[in-house]
Protein backbone atom coordinates (compact mmCIF):
# COMPACT_ATOMS: atom_id res chain seq x y z
CA UNK A 1 0.00 0.00 0.00
CA UNK A 2 1.44 3.36 -1.00
CA UNK A 3 0.74 6.34 1.17
CA UNK A 4 0.45 8.54 -1.89
CA UNK A 5 -3.04 9.46 -2.90
CA UNK A 6 -4.11 9.14 -6.47
CA UNK A 7 -4.96 12.18 -8.53
CA UNK A 8 -8.60 11.17 -8.49
CA UNK A 9 -8.66 10.88 -4.74
CA UNK A 10 -7.06 14.26 -4.29
CA UNK A 11 -9.43 16.04 -6.65
CA UNK A 12 -12.32 14.34 -4.93
CA UNK A 13 -11.15 15.65 -1.60
CA UNK A 14 -10.79 19.13 -3.01
CA UNK A 15 -14.35 19.11 -4.29
CA UNK A 16 -15.52 17.76 -1.00
CA UNK A 17 -13.75 20.52 0.90
CA UNK A 18 -15.32 23.10 -1.37
CA UNK A 19 -18.78 21.65 -0.79
CA UNK A 20 -18.22 21.74 2.94
CA UNK A 21 -17.00 25.31 2.77
CA UNK A 22 -20.10 26.38 0.86
CA UNK A 23 -22.22 24.66 3.48
CA UNK A 24 -20.42 26.37 6.33
CA UNK A 25 -20.93 29.75 4.69
CA UNK A 26 -24.62 29.25 4.00
CA UNK A 27 -25.33 27.82 7.44
CA UNK A 28 -23.68 30.88 8.92
CA UNK A 29 -26.18 33.00 6.99
CA UNK A 30 -29.04 30.96 8.47
CA UNK A 31 -27.70 31.50 11.96
CA UNK A 32 -27.45 35.21 11.29
CA UNK A 33 -31.05 35.31 10.10
CA UNK A 34 -32.16 33.77 13.38
CA UNK A 35 -30.01 36.28 15.24
CA UNK A 36 -31.60 39.20 13.39
CA UNK A 37 -34.99 38.26 14.86
CA UNK A 38 -33.60 38.19 18.36
CA UNK A 39 -31.80 41.45 17.74
CA UNK A 40 -34.97 43.14 16.44
CA UNK A 41 -36.95 42.13 19.51
CA UNK A 42 -34.15 43.13 21.86
CA UNK A 43 -33.57 46.49 20.20
CA UNK A 44 -37.25 47.49 20.24
CA UNK A 45 -37.83 46.36 23.82
CA UNK A 46 -34.55 47.78 25.12
CA UNK A 47 -35.09 51.08 23.41
CA UNK A 48 -38.60 51.52 24.82
CA UNK A 49 -37.46 50.39 28.26
CA UNK A 50 -34.42 52.69 28.44
CA UNK A 51 -36.41 55.71 27.35
CA UNK A 52 -39.56 54.85 29.19
CA UNK A 53 -38.66 53.57 32.62
CA UNK A 54 -38.02 57.03 34.04
CA UNK A 55 -41.50 58.15 33.04
CA UNK A 56 -43.20 55.24 34.72
CA UNK A 57 -43.73 56.43 38.29
CA UNK A 58 -46.48 55.63 40.77
CA UNK A 59 -48.24 58.88 39.84
CA UNK A 60 -47.99 57.98 36.15
CA UNK A 61 -49.83 54.74 36.77
CA UNK A 62 -52.47 56.14 39.10
CA UNK A 63 -53.35 59.58 37.73
CA UNK A 64 -55.52 60.76 34.89
CA UNK A 65 -53.88 62.81 32.10
CA UNK A 66 -53.58 66.50 33.01
CA UNK A 67 -53.22 69.77 31.10
CA UNK A 68 -54.49 68.51 27.73
CA UNK A 69 -52.51 65.30 28.08
CA UNK A 70 -49.08 66.92 28.39
CA UNK A 71 -48.74 65.88 32.03
CA UNK A 72 -50.19 63.43 34.48
CA UNK A 73 -50.68 59.72 34.13
CA UNK A 74 -52.42 57.04 32.16
CA UNK A 75 -54.75 55.36 34.66
CA UNK A 76 -57.84 55.67 32.43
CA UNK A 77 -55.91 54.05 29.57
CA UNK A 78 -54.80 51.10 31.70
CA UNK A 79 -58.31 50.57 33.01
CA UNK A 80 -59.74 50.95 29.50
CA UNK A 81 -57.35 48.45 27.97
CA UNK A 82 -58.04 45.92 30.72
CA UNK A 83 -61.81 46.36 30.24
CA UNK A 84 -61.51 45.83 26.49
CA UNK A 85 -59.15 42.87 26.70
CA UNK A 86 -60.98 41.02 29.44
CA UNK A 87 -64.37 41.79 27.92
CA UNK A 88 -63.24 40.46 24.54
CA UNK A 89 -62.04 37.21 26.11
CA UNK A 90 -65.22 36.77 28.15
CA UNK A 91 -67.18 36.93 24.89
CA UNK A 92 -64.78 35.06 22.61
CA UNK A 93 -63.69 32.24 24.93
CA UNK A 94 -67.01 30.34 25.20
CA UNK A 95 -67.71 30.69 21.47
CA UNK A 96 -64.15 29.77 20.54
CA UNK A 97 -63.98 26.76 22.83
CA UNK A 98 -67.36 25.47 21.64
CA UNK A 99 -66.28 25.90 18.00
CA UNK A 100 -63.06 24.03 18.65
CA UNK A 101 -64.95 21.24 20.42
CA UNK A 102 -67.14 20.81 17.37
CA UNK A 103 -64.19 20.86 14.99
CA UNK A 104 -62.04 18.45 16.98
CA UNK A 105 -64.54 16.16 18.71
CA UNK A 106 -67.63 15.99 16.53
CA UNK A 107 -66.98 17.00 12.95
CA UNK A 108 -66.16 14.36 10.37
CA UNK A 109 -63.96 15.32 7.43
CA UNK A 110 -65.85 16.61 4.44
CA UNK A 111 -66.89 19.65 2.48
CA UNK A 112 -68.71 21.26 5.39
CA UNK A 113 -65.74 20.99 7.73
CA UNK A 114 -63.46 22.36 5.02
CA UNK A 115 -65.82 25.31 4.57
CA UNK A 116 -65.89 26.08 8.30
CA UNK A 117 -62.12 25.91 8.45
CA UNK A 118 -61.81 28.18 5.43
CA UNK A 119 -64.15 30.61 7.18
CA UNK A 120 -62.01 30.60 10.31
CA UNK A 121 -58.74 31.08 8.45
CA UNK A 122 -60.28 33.90 6.44
CA UNK A 123 -61.56 35.55 9.59
CA UNK A 124 -58.04 35.31 11.01
CA UNK A 125 -56.77 37.07 7.90
CA UNK A 126 -59.17 40.01 7.95
CA UNK A 127 -57.15 43.23 8.41
CA UNK A 128 -57.59 44.85 11.81
CA UNK A 129 -58.82 48.10 10.27
CA UNK A 130 -61.55 46.20 8.45
CA UNK A 131 -62.66 44.83 11.82
CA UNK A 132 -62.81 48.47 12.87
CA UNK A 133 -65.04 49.33 9.91
CA UNK A 134 -67.25 46.35 10.65
CA UNK A 135 -67.54 47.31 14.30
CA UNK A 136 -68.41 50.86 13.33
CA UNK A 137 -71.07 49.86 10.81
CA UNK A 138 -72.60 46.99 12.78
CA UNK A 139 -72.17 47.54 16.52
CA UNK A 140 -71.83 51.32 16.72
CA UNK A 141 -74.33 52.38 14.06
CA UNK A 142 -76.66 49.52 13.20
CA UNK A 143 -77.10 48.18 16.74
CA UNK A 144 -76.99 51.76 18.03
CA UNK A 145 -74.40 51.02 20.70
CA UNK A 146 -72.54 54.20 19.93
CA UNK A 147 -68.79 54.52 20.49
CA UNK A 148 -68.64 52.44 23.65
CA UNK A 149 -66.80 49.75 25.58
CA UNK A 150 -69.36 47.17 24.53
CA UNK A 151 -68.93 47.95 20.81
CA UNK A 152 -65.15 47.72 21.20
CA UNK A 153 -65.38 44.50 23.18
CA UNK A 154 -67.56 42.82 20.55
CA UNK A 155 -65.29 44.01 17.72
CA UNK A 156 -62.19 42.71 19.51
CA UNK A 157 -63.99 39.46 20.34
CA UNK A 158 -64.61 38.82 16.62
CA UNK A 159 -60.92 39.43 16.02
CA UNK A 160 -59.66 37.12 18.78
CA UNK A 161 -62.10 34.32 17.99
CA UNK A 162 -59.78 32.57 15.47
CA UNK A 163 -56.88 32.80 17.95
CA UNK A 164 -58.95 31.10 20.63
CA UNK A 165 -60.24 28.43 18.26
CA UNK A 166 -56.71 27.63 17.10
CA UNK A 167 -55.18 27.30 20.54
CA UNK A 168 -58.15 25.36 21.94
CA UNK A 169 -57.97 22.91 19.07
CA UNK A 170 -54.30 22.39 19.77
CA UNK A 171 -55.11 21.76 23.43
CA UNK A 172 -57.84 19.27 22.54
CA UNK A 173 -55.55 17.48 20.09
CA UNK A 174 -52.95 16.99 22.78
CA UNK A 175 -55.40 14.95 24.88
CA UNK A 176 -54.54 11.31 24.07
CA UNK A 177 -57.26 9.34 22.30
CA UNK A 178 -56.98 6.58 24.89
CA UNK A 179 -58.68 8.94 27.37
CA UNK A 180 -61.69 9.24 25.10
CA UNK A 181 -61.78 5.55 24.30
CA UNK A 182 -61.60 4.57 27.97
CA UNK A 183 -64.48 6.88 28.83
CA UNK A 184 -66.62 5.72 25.91
CA UNK A 185 -65.88 2.11 26.77
CA UNK A 186 -67.25 2.70 30.26
CA UNK A 187 -70.55 3.64 28.67
CA UNK A 188 -70.27 7.41 28.78
CA UNK A 189 -71.85 9.36 25.96
CA UNK A 190 -69.77 11.58 23.74
CA UNK A 191 -70.81 14.72 25.60
CA UNK A 192 -70.10 13.14 28.99
CA UNK A 193 -66.68 12.17 27.69
CA UNK A 194 -65.96 15.67 26.49
CA UNK A 195 -67.25 17.34 29.62
CA UNK A 196 -65.74 15.01 32.23
CA UNK A 197 -62.60 13.76 30.53
CA UNK A 198 -61.41 15.77 27.55
CA UNK A 199 -62.09 19.31 28.77
CA UNK A 200 -60.45 18.92 32.19
CA UNK A 201 -57.38 17.45 30.53
CA UNK A 202 -57.26 20.26 27.96
CA UNK A 203 -58.12 23.06 30.36
CA UNK A 204 -54.61 24.38 31.03
CA UNK A 205 -53.93 24.53 27.29
CA UNK A 206 -57.21 26.34 26.71
CA UNK A 207 -56.38 28.90 29.39
CA UNK A 208 -52.97 29.49 27.81
CA UNK A 209 -54.78 30.27 24.59
CA UNK A 210 -57.11 32.61 26.45
CA UNK A 211 -54.13 34.57 27.77
CA UNK A 212 -52.69 34.83 24.27
CA UNK A 213 -56.05 36.04 22.99
CA UNK A 214 -56.28 38.57 25.80
CA UNK A 215 -52.86 39.98 25.02
CA UNK A 216 -53.71 40.19 21.34
CA UNK A 217 -56.91 42.11 22.10
CA UNK A 218 -55.13 44.43 24.50
CA UNK A 219 -52.48 45.39 21.94
CA UNK A 220 -54.78 46.14 19.00
CA UNK A 221 -55.37 49.73 17.98
CA UNK A 222 -57.18 49.93 14.65
CA UNK A 223 -60.29 47.95 15.68
CA UNK A 224 -61.01 50.26 18.63
CA UNK A 225 -60.26 53.56 16.89
CA UNK A 226 -63.81 53.93 15.57
CA UNK A 227 -65.63 51.74 18.06
CA UNK A 228 -64.53 52.40 21.63
CA UNK A 229 -61.55 54.68 22.15
CA UNK A 230 -61.48 58.45 22.38
CA UNK A 231 -58.66 60.99 22.65
CA UNK A 232 -59.48 61.98 26.15
CA UNK A 233 -62.02 61.32 28.84
CA UNK A 234 -61.38 62.29 32.43
CA UNK A 235 -63.61 59.65 33.97
CA UNK A 236 -63.04 56.00 34.53
CA UNK A 237 -65.65 53.87 32.77
CA UNK A 238 -68.83 53.39 34.77
CA UNK A 239 -71.04 51.55 32.30
CA UNK A 240 -70.46 49.37 29.22
CA UNK A 241 -71.81 52.20 27.10
CA UNK A 242 -69.10 54.66 28.10
CA UNK A 243 -66.37 55.77 25.76
CA UNK A 244 -62.90 55.01 27.06
CA UNK A 245 -59.21 55.66 26.63
CA UNK A 246 -56.89 52.77 25.80
CA UNK A 247 -53.12 52.31 25.95
CA UNK A 248 -52.40 51.59 22.28
CA UNK A 249 -54.65 54.38 21.08
CA UNK A 250 -53.10 56.75 23.60
CA UNK A 251 -49.61 56.01 22.21
CA UNK A 252 -50.87 56.69 18.71
CA UNK A 253 -52.63 59.91 19.66
CA UNK A 254 -49.72 61.32 21.65
CA UNK A 255 -47.18 60.39 18.97
CA UNK A 256 -49.10 61.80 16.02
CA UNK A 257 -51.75 64.27 17.08
CA UNK A 258 -50.92 65.52 20.56
CA UNK A 259 -50.80 69.22 21.36
CA UNK A 260 -47.04 69.08 21.64
CA UNK A 261 -45.56 65.94 20.21
CA UNK A 262 -41.94 66.57 21.20
CA UNK A 263 -42.75 67.65 24.76
CA UNK A 264 -44.84 64.56 25.46
CA UNK A 265 -42.17 62.11 24.27
CA UNK A 266 -41.53 60.83 27.82
CA UNK A 267 -45.24 60.13 28.18
CA UNK A 268 -45.23 58.29 24.85
CA UNK A 269 -42.30 56.12 25.89
CA UNK A 270 -43.86 55.50 29.28
CA UNK A 271 -47.21 54.49 27.81
CA UNK A 272 -45.48 52.21 25.26
CA UNK A 273 -43.49 50.61 28.04
CA UNK A 274 -46.59 49.90 30.11
CA UNK A 275 -48.26 48.45 27.01
CA UNK A 276 -45.40 46.12 26.09
CA UNK A 277 -44.89 45.02 29.68
CA UNK A 278 -48.58 44.13 29.80
CA UNK A 279 -48.69 42.38 26.42
CA UNK A 280 -45.29 40.68 26.42
CA UNK A 281 -45.70 39.76 30.09
CA UNK A 282 -48.91 37.90 29.34
CA UNK A 283 -47.30 36.22 26.34
CA UNK A 284 -44.25 35.20 28.28
CA UNK A 285 -46.42 33.76 31.05
CA UNK A 286 -48.41 31.79 28.47
CA UNK A 287 -45.25 30.53 26.76
CA UNK A 288 -43.65 29.38 30.00
CA UNK A 289 -46.85 27.74 31.16
CA UNK A 290 -47.27 25.96 27.86
CA UNK A 291 -43.70 24.68 27.90
CA UNK A 292 -44.28 23.19 31.34
CA UNK A 293 -47.53 21.59 30.17
CA UNK A 294 -45.82 19.98 27.21
CA UNK A 295 -43.15 18.52 29.46
CA UNK A 296 -45.82 17.10 31.71
CA UNK A 297 -47.68 15.57 28.74
CA UNK A 298 -44.53 13.76 27.69
Amino acid sequence: MTEEKSLLERSFERVHRRRKRLQRFIFMLFRMAALVNGAALTVVVAFITINGWKAVTWEFLTQAPLESMTKGGILPCIVGTLCLGIGAIVVALPIGVASAIYLNEYASPGKLLRLIRLGISNLAGVPSVVFGLFGLAFFVIWLKMGVSIIAGVLTLASLTLPVIIGSTEEALKSVPNTYREASLALGATRWQTIYRVVLPAALPGILTGAILGLSRAAGETAPIMFTAAVFYTPNLPASPFDKIMALPYHVYVLATAGTNIEATRPLQYGTSLVLIVLVLGMNLAAIVWRARLRKKMK
Partner: protein, 297 residues
Protein backbone atom coordinates in the same frame (compact mmCIF):
# COMPACT_ATOMS: atom_id res chain seq x y z
CA UNK B 1 -82.82 5.74 29.42
CA UNK B 2 -80.50 5.16 26.50
CA UNK B 3 -82.97 7.04 24.38
CA UNK B 4 -82.85 10.17 26.50
CA UNK B 5 -79.11 9.99 26.65
CA UNK B 6 -78.65 9.71 22.95
CA UNK B 7 -81.19 12.47 22.40
CA UNK B 8 -79.30 14.82 24.73
CA UNK B 9 -76.13 13.85 22.97
CA UNK B 10 -77.61 14.72 19.63
CA UNK B 11 -78.84 18.12 20.78
CA UNK B 12 -75.43 18.87 22.32
CA UNK B 13 -73.88 18.04 18.98
CA UNK B 14 -76.27 20.36 17.18
CA UNK B 15 -75.49 23.10 19.70
CA UNK B 16 -71.75 22.84 19.11
CA UNK B 17 -72.26 22.74 15.37
CA UNK B 18 -74.27 25.96 15.40
CA UNK B 19 -71.68 27.72 17.56
CA UNK B 20 -68.96 26.57 15.16
CA UNK B 21 -70.78 28.44 12.42
CA UNK B 22 -70.20 31.71 14.32
CA UNK B 23 -66.91 32.39 12.53
CA UNK B 24 -68.52 32.05 9.12
CA UNK B 25 -71.44 34.16 10.30
CA UNK B 26 -69.10 36.95 11.44
CA UNK B 27 -67.20 36.76 8.17
CA UNK B 28 -70.47 37.14 6.26
CA UNK B 29 -71.60 40.01 8.45
CA UNK B 30 -68.29 41.76 7.79
CA UNK B 31 -68.88 41.42 4.06
CA UNK B 32 -72.51 42.51 4.27
CA UNK B 33 -71.77 45.60 6.32
CA UNK B 34 -68.74 46.58 4.24
CA UNK B 35 -70.85 46.39 1.12
CA UNK B 36 -73.83 48.10 2.70
CA UNK B 37 -71.76 51.13 3.68
CA UNK B 38 -69.42 51.04 0.69
CA UNK B 39 -71.65 50.48 -2.33
CA UNK B 40 -73.36 53.91 -2.24
CA UNK B 41 -70.14 55.59 -3.45
CA UNK B 42 -70.61 53.86 -6.78
CA UNK B 43 -73.68 55.98 -7.44
CA UNK B 44 -71.28 58.93 -7.66
CA UNK B 45 -68.34 57.33 -9.38
CA UNK B 46 -67.93 54.20 -11.46
CA UNK B 47 -66.08 51.21 -10.07
CA UNK B 48 -63.47 51.65 -12.79
CA UNK B 49 -62.84 55.30 -11.94
CA UNK B 50 -62.72 54.44 -8.25
CA UNK B 51 -60.11 51.72 -8.62
CA UNK B 52 -58.08 53.25 -11.44
CA UNK B 53 -58.53 56.91 -10.58
CA UNK B 54 -55.13 58.46 -9.97
CA UNK B 55 -56.19 61.18 -7.56
CA UNK B 56 -57.31 60.84 -3.98
CA UNK B 57 -58.50 64.26 -2.81
CA UNK B 58 -61.51 63.29 -0.72
CA UNK B 59 -61.94 66.67 0.98
CA UNK B 60 -61.44 69.12 -1.86
CA UNK B 61 -64.39 70.35 -3.88
CA UNK B 62 -65.20 68.68 -6.13
CA UNK B 63 -63.61 65.69 -4.39
CA UNK B 64 -61.57 63.03 -6.19
CA UNK B 65 -62.06 59.45 -5.10
CA UNK B 66 -59.47 57.50 -7.06
CA UNK B 67 -57.72 54.92 -4.93
CA UNK B 68 -55.09 53.74 -7.41
CA UNK B 69 -52.31 55.52 -5.45
CA UNK B 70 -53.50 53.80 -2.29
CA UNK B 71 -53.66 50.38 -3.95
CA UNK B 72 -50.21 50.80 -5.50
CA UNK B 73 -48.84 51.99 -2.17
CA UNK B 74 -50.24 48.91 -0.43
CA UNK B 75 -48.82 46.57 -3.06
CA UNK B 76 -45.43 48.33 -3.09
CA UNK B 77 -45.10 48.28 0.69
CA UNK B 78 -46.10 44.61 0.77
CA UNK B 79 -43.68 43.58 -1.99
CA UNK B 80 -40.72 45.44 -0.50
CA UNK B 81 -41.46 44.00 2.93
CA UNK B 82 -41.76 40.54 1.37
CA UNK B 83 -38.30 40.96 -0.17
CA UNK B 84 -36.97 41.32 3.38
CA UNK B 85 -39.28 39.02 5.32
CA UNK B 86 -39.29 35.97 3.01
CA UNK B 87 -35.54 35.30 3.13
CA UNK B 88 -35.37 36.22 6.80
CA UNK B 89 -38.38 34.14 7.79
CA UNK B 90 -37.56 31.08 5.71
CA UNK B 91 -33.89 31.11 6.73
CA UNK B 92 -34.83 31.36 10.40
CA UNK B 93 -37.29 28.50 9.90
CA UNK B 94 -34.59 26.32 8.31
CA UNK B 95 -32.23 27.18 11.13
CA UNK B 96 -34.81 26.25 13.75
CA UNK B 97 -35.96 23.05 12.08
CA UNK B 98 -32.65 21.72 10.77
CA UNK B 99 -29.61 23.32 12.32
CA UNK B 100 -30.29 24.51 15.82
CA UNK B 101 -29.77 22.39 18.87
CA UNK B 102 -33.06 21.40 20.51
CA UNK B 103 -32.20 23.59 23.48
CA UNK B 104 -31.35 26.64 21.42
CA UNK B 105 -34.42 26.18 19.24
CA UNK B 106 -36.56 26.11 22.40
CA UNK B 107 -35.07 29.48 23.27
CA UNK B 108 -35.41 31.12 19.86
CA UNK B 109 -38.97 30.03 19.16
CA UNK B 110 -40.38 32.12 22.03
CA UNK B 111 -38.36 35.07 20.72
CA UNK B 112 -40.11 34.78 17.37
CA UNK B 113 -43.45 34.43 19.16
CA UNK B 114 -42.81 37.53 21.24
CA UNK B 115 -41.85 39.40 18.07
CA UNK B 116 -45.30 38.50 16.72
CA UNK B 117 -46.89 39.67 19.96
CA UNK B 118 -45.38 43.16 19.91
CA UNK B 119 -48.30 45.57 19.55
CA UNK B 120 -48.27 47.12 16.08
CA UNK B 121 -48.56 50.61 17.53
CA UNK B 122 -45.27 50.09 19.38
CA UNK B 123 -43.53 49.01 16.19
CA UNK B 124 -45.01 52.04 14.46
CA UNK B 125 -43.78 54.27 17.25
CA UNK B 126 -40.30 52.73 17.04
CA UNK B 127 -40.28 53.34 13.27
CA UNK B 128 -41.27 56.94 13.82
CA UNK B 129 -38.83 57.98 16.50
CA UNK B 130 -35.78 55.82 15.73
CA UNK B 131 -35.78 54.41 12.21
CA UNK B 132 -37.12 57.53 10.49
CA UNK B 133 -34.45 59.99 11.74
CA UNK B 134 -31.80 57.34 11.09
CA UNK B 135 -32.90 56.86 7.47
CA UNK B 136 -33.20 60.59 6.95
CA UNK B 137 -29.63 61.22 8.04
CA UNK B 138 -28.04 58.17 6.47
CA UNK B 139 -29.55 58.59 3.04
CA UNK B 140 -29.98 62.37 3.08
CA UNK B 141 -33.66 62.18 2.15
CA UNK B 142 -36.33 64.76 2.93
CA UNK B 143 -38.33 62.45 5.18
CA UNK B 144 -37.64 59.21 6.97
CA UNK B 145 -41.34 58.40 7.01
CA UNK B 146 -41.58 56.59 3.70
CA UNK B 147 -42.24 53.41 1.77
CA UNK B 148 -38.97 51.77 2.78
CA UNK B 149 -39.36 52.46 6.48
CA UNK B 150 -42.91 51.11 6.47
CA UNK B 151 -41.82 48.00 4.56
CA UNK B 152 -38.96 47.40 6.98
CA UNK B 153 -41.24 47.64 10.02
CA UNK B 154 -43.87 45.46 8.33
CA UNK B 155 -41.34 42.78 7.51
CA UNK B 156 -40.67 42.26 11.21
CA UNK B 157 -44.37 41.73 11.68
CA UNK B 158 -44.65 39.11 8.94
CA UNK B 159 -41.43 37.25 9.74
CA UNK B 160 -43.03 35.37 12.67
CA UNK B 161 -45.93 34.20 10.48
CA UNK B 162 -43.61 33.07 7.69
CA UNK B 163 -41.15 31.50 10.11
CA UNK B 164 -43.53 29.44 12.21
CA UNK B 165 -45.55 28.00 9.32
CA UNK B 166 -42.42 27.23 7.25
CA UNK B 167 -40.80 25.59 10.24
CA UNK B 168 -43.74 23.23 10.67
CA UNK B 169 -43.54 22.34 6.99
CA UNK B 170 -39.79 21.70 7.06
CA UNK B 171 -40.00 19.81 10.31
CA UNK B 172 -42.60 17.43 8.96
CA UNK B 173 -40.53 16.26 5.98
CA UNK B 174 -40.04 12.52 6.51
CA UNK B 175 -36.63 11.67 7.98
CA UNK B 176 -36.26 8.85 5.46
CA UNK B 177 -35.95 11.39 2.64
CA UNK B 178 -33.21 13.25 4.42
CA UNK B 179 -31.33 10.10 5.36
CA UNK B 180 -31.58 8.80 1.82
CA UNK B 181 -29.96 11.91 0.47
CA UNK B 182 -27.22 11.96 3.10
CA UNK B 183 -26.51 8.29 2.48
CA UNK B 184 -25.89 9.06 -1.18
CA UNK B 185 -23.08 11.36 -0.11
CA UNK B 186 -24.83 14.72 -0.33
CA UNK B 187 -23.84 17.30 2.25
CA UNK B 188 -26.40 18.64 4.65
CA UNK B 189 -26.76 21.83 2.60
CA UNK B 190 -27.22 19.90 -0.65
CA UNK B 191 -29.83 17.77 1.08
CA UNK B 192 -31.61 20.88 2.25
CA UNK B 193 -31.76 22.63 -1.08
CA UNK B 194 -32.42 19.57 -3.25
CA UNK B 195 -34.60 17.42 -1.02
CA UNK B 196 -35.98 19.05 2.10
CA UNK B 197 -37.03 22.40 0.66
CA UNK B 198 -38.65 20.93 -2.48
CA UNK B 199 -40.53 18.49 -0.24
CA UNK B 200 -41.87 21.27 1.95
CA UNK B 201 -42.38 23.92 -0.71
CA UNK B 202 -46.18 23.90 -0.42
CA UNK B 203 -46.01 24.69 3.28
CA UNK B 204 -43.40 27.37 2.69
CA UNK B 205 -45.56 28.95 -0.05
CA UNK B 206 -48.55 29.01 2.30
CA UNK B 207 -46.37 30.67 4.91
CA UNK B 208 -45.21 33.32 2.46
CA UNK B 209 -48.73 34.10 1.24
CA UNK B 210 -50.09 34.41 4.78
CA UNK B 211 -47.14 36.59 5.74
CA UNK B 212 -47.85 38.92 2.84
CA UNK B 213 -51.53 38.96 3.73
CA UNK B 214 -50.58 40.07 7.21
CA UNK B 215 -48.39 42.84 5.78
CA UNK B 216 -50.98 44.24 3.37
CA UNK B 217 -53.64 44.40 6.08
CA UNK B 218 -51.47 45.83 8.83
CA UNK B 219 -52.70 49.26 9.79
CA UNK B 220 -50.87 51.07 12.58
CA UNK B 221 -47.40 50.69 11.09
CA UNK B 222 -48.33 52.14 7.72
CA UNK B 223 -50.45 54.78 9.39
CA UNK B 224 -47.54 56.00 11.48
CA UNK B 225 -44.44 55.51 9.32
CA UNK B 226 -45.45 55.39 5.64
CA UNK B 227 -45.54 59.17 5.30
CA UNK B 228 -49.15 59.59 4.28
CA UNK B 229 -48.83 61.13 0.81
CA UNK B 230 -51.49 59.78 -1.54
CA UNK B 231 -49.21 59.66 -4.55
CA UNK B 232 -48.00 56.87 -6.78
CA UNK B 233 -44.47 56.25 -5.46
CA UNK B 234 -41.52 56.65 -7.81
CA UNK B 235 -38.73 55.70 -5.48
CA UNK B 236 -38.17 53.52 -2.45
CA UNK B 237 -37.95 56.60 -0.28
CA UNK B 238 -41.19 58.28 -1.34
CA UNK B 239 -43.85 58.81 1.28
CA UNK B 240 -46.94 56.73 0.53
CA UNK B 241 -50.46 56.21 1.84
CA UNK B 242 -51.49 52.54 1.76
CA UNK B 243 -55.18 51.64 1.98
CA UNK B 244 -55.36 50.80 5.71
CA UNK B 245 -53.61 54.06 6.59
CA UNK B 246 -56.09 56.05 4.56
CA UNK B 247 -59.07 54.39 6.20
CA UNK B 248 -57.73 54.73 9.73
CA UNK B 249 -56.60 58.32 9.32
CA UNK B 250 -59.67 59.70 7.60
CA UNK B 251 -62.60 57.82 9.08
CA UNK B 252 -62.78 60.04 12.16
CA UNK B 253 -63.13 63.19 10.05
CA UNK B 254 -65.35 61.85 7.29
CA UNK B 255 -68.91 63.17 7.64
CA UNK B 256 -71.27 60.37 8.62
CA UNK B 257 -72.67 58.67 5.51
CA UNK B 258 -71.19 61.28 3.24
CA UNK B 259 -69.34 60.41 0.04
CA UNK B 260 -65.99 60.33 1.80
CA UNK B 261 -67.36 57.89 4.39
CA UNK B 262 -68.73 55.62 1.67
CA UNK B 263 -65.46 55.83 -0.25
CA UNK B 264 -63.50 54.71 2.82
CA UNK B 265 -65.79 51.72 3.27
CA UNK B 266 -65.35 50.92 -0.42
CA UNK B 267 -61.58 51.07 0.12
CA UNK B 268 -62.17 48.61 2.96
CA UNK B 269 -63.91 46.30 0.47
CA UNK B 270 -60.89 46.40 -1.85
CA UNK B 271 -58.53 45.71 1.05
CA UNK B 272 -60.73 42.89 2.30
CA UNK B 273 -60.75 41.34 -1.18
CA UNK B 274 -56.96 41.41 -1.31
CA UNK B 275 -56.55 39.56 1.98
CA UNK B 276 -59.40 37.19 1.13
CA UNK B 277 -57.66 36.37 -2.15
CA UNK B 278 -54.37 35.70 -0.35
CA UNK B 279 -56.11 33.43 2.14
CA UNK B 280 -58.05 31.47 -0.46
CA UNK B 281 -54.86 30.92 -2.47
CA UNK B 282 -53.05 29.81 0.68
CA UNK B 283 -55.87 27.40 1.50
CA UNK B 284 -55.84 26.06 -2.05
CA UNK B 285 -52.07 25.51 -1.99
CA UNK B 286 -52.30 23.73 1.35
CA UNK B 287 -54.99 21.34 0.20
CA UNK B 288 -53.99 20.76 -3.39
CA UNK B 289 -50.30 20.28 -2.81
CA UNK B 290 -50.60 18.68 0.56
CA UNK B 291 -47.34 17.23 1.79
CA UNK B 292 -47.71 13.51 1.35
CA UNK B 293 -44.26 12.32 2.26
CA UNK B 294 -42.11 10.86 -0.50
CA UNK B 295 -44.87 11.22 -3.04
CA UNK B 296 -44.67 15.00 -3.08
CA UNK B 297 -41.17 15.15 -4.52
Amino acid sequence: MTNIRSRTDKSVRIFFFSVALASIAILFMIMIFLFMEGIPIFKKISIYDFIFGKFWYPTSSPPDFGILPLIIASIAVTLVSAAISIPLGVMTAIYLAELAHRRIAELIKPVVELLAALPSVVIGFFGMVIVAPFLQETFGIPTGLNLFNAALMLSFMSVPTICSISEDAIYSVPVALKEGSLALGATHWETLIRVIIPASISGISTAVILGMSRAIGETMVVLMVAGGAAMIPESLFDPVRPMPASIAAEMAEAPFRGDHYYALFATGIVLFMFTMLFNVIADHVTHKYRQTGEASL
